[in-house]
């Protein structure tokens, strides 16, 4: 069965969030993420003939690799690459200590964003792809070339770390 041909707008609407947050996860800068995203989609326009008949997974993988490669090049240029660290296993703490969404103010949101930015690269990228880009664990695992269990494990550790950060911030804020 022949797949429907992609058009640029449909590619952009389907994957612009993924590209943007992947770039943001790598560079931790909104403006840099915006520049990288634009560069990625300019390449999409340039190679549209080759991309239009790709399957969704294949196209997603292509976009992810192009985005990561551009970010790596950008990092090399600005020389502020941060090596990935392993997060320690964080013990589960009480849920009641976390702020309620209804009462989260801008300061709390900024604090959460800061905590995400402070995560090691692979954890930050996983969080961004899952929550910010809306991708499932299976898709993230396929993109990163790891198992779904690995993604789940990373996500659990990330949540524990963020929980600690948020509780500490509230306590000290």
């Amino acid at each position: 069965m022949r797949l429907p041909a992609w058009e640029f707008d449909s590619v952009y609407n389907s994957f612009s969030r993924m590209v943007y947050w992947t770039a943001y996860g790598a560079l931790k800068s909104e403006s840099d993420a915006m520049d990288i995203s634009q560069e990625v989609f300019i390449r999409v326009l340039r190679h549209m003939k080759k991309l239009e008949n790709m399957g969704e997974a294949q196209l997603k993988s292509w976009l992810y690799r192009v985005t990561v490669n551009l970010c790596v090049d950008g990092k090399r240029r600005v020389k502020h690459e941060v090596l990935a660290d392993e997060l320690p296993e964080t013990p589960v703490s009480s849920e009641e200590e976390l702020p309620e969404i209804a009462v989260m103010n801008a300061e709390t949101v900024r604090m959460v964003r800061g905590a995400i930015d402070a995560l090691p690269d692979i954890y930050r990228e996983t969080v961004l792809l899952h929550y910010f880009s809306g991708m499932g664990y299976e898709e993230i695992a396929a993109l990163q070339g790891v198992s779904e269990g690995t993604i789940k494990s990373r996500m659990s550790r990330t949540k524990g770390k963020l929980c600690e950060t948020l509780k500490g911030g509230e306590l000290h804020g």
Binding site: D9, Y12, S16, R17, Y20, E30, M34, S37, Q38, F41, I42, L45, R46, V92, S93, S94, E95, L98, P99, I101, M104, V109, V112, R113, I116, V127, Y131, F132, S156, K159, L162, C163, L166
Partner: protein, 270 residues
């Protein structure tokens, strides 16, 4: 805790996505893509024109160089022709040219031999089959020796005795007129030349056709005035005055040398 943390993260993500202007990014991408295409076109126009100019110059130089080479080849061919003529006119000169390719020389000879009037191009000297054809080409009809040098009216195929007197001579001719002007000639030269003319054409007008290979009548005007000696040949009837009277005067001159004028015109009947 995990569910609450999920909610918090999703809430933060939604707020973050709301702050990202994807529409503006989309417009910016299209704008940049158009600008990129325009830049490529400008490069094509800029470097294309340069490439076209280079191509035109290259083609021009190639054509110019080719024409130069053809010109030099033609010049070399002319040099060869001149050498061939020189060799023909100077048989004693460097004989090395005779050792050159017979075929090449035959080609030159056949190309250079002027066609004598009334002579078929394929007759005579055999169409340049040997080296003598060049000598034949420059020898006036009626000459039997290599050193024979006569006046020859090429347009009419008419021959007159050589002028070997005076300081210098100059010949001009066309289809209607033949004039040989000799400077510093004397009356004796004039008389001797008239005698030679009569010797060459002893039967006068009766043999004219055979000698000249033409059926026309000619008036040869020999003029001696102020040391200028002139021989003119005109087709009969082209003079404005009485041709017959002039011929009678010429006959009179032949039989009575004393009556030969020192200046004025005389006519020979051929």
């Amino acid at each position: 805790m995990a569910d609450k943390m999920d909610d918090i993260l999703q809430h933060v993500a939604d707020q973050a996505n709301a702050q990202v202007d994807y529409e503006a990014m989309h417009a910016s991408i299209l704008k940049k893509a158009r600008a990129g295409k325009l830049a490529v076109r400008k490069k094509i126009v800029r470097y294309g024109s340069v490439a076209a100019a280079v191509l035109i110059v290259t083609v021009g130089l190639t054509v110019f160089g080719r024409s130069l080479r053809m010109g030099s080849a033609a010049s070399e061919a002319n040099d060869e022709n001149e050498c061939a003529f020189y060799a023909a006119e100077n048989p004693q000169a460097d004989t090395s040219t005779a050792d050159e390719s017979t075929e090449e020389r035959d080609m030159l000879g056949s190309a250079l031999v002027p066609k004598a009037e009334g002579e078929d191009a394929c007759s005579g000297s055999g169409g340049g089959g040997d080296g003598d054809s060049i000598n034949d080409a420059v020898t006036p009809p009626g000459c039997s020796t290599a050193n024979c040098d006569t006046l020859y009216w090429e347009e009419r195929g008419l021959e007159l005795p050589a002028v070997d007197f005076g300081e210098s001579s100059e010949v001009e001719s066309d289809s209607e007129h033949f004039l040989c002007t000799v400077t510093n000639a004397t009356a004796d030269d004039y008389e001797a030349y008239i005698a030679l003319v009569n010797e060459m054409y002893p039967d006068g007008a009766d043999n004219r056709g055979e000698a000249t290979n033409t059926s026309e009548e000619y008036d040869i005007v020999v003029r001696l005035a102020d040391d200028q000696y002139a021989v003119s040949i005109f087709p009969f009837g082209r003079r404005a005055y009485n041709q017959r009277a002039a011929k009678r005067q010429l006959k009179s001159c032949e039989h009575n040398q004393a009556s030969l004028p020192n200046s004025g015109d005389a006519w020979l009947l051929l």
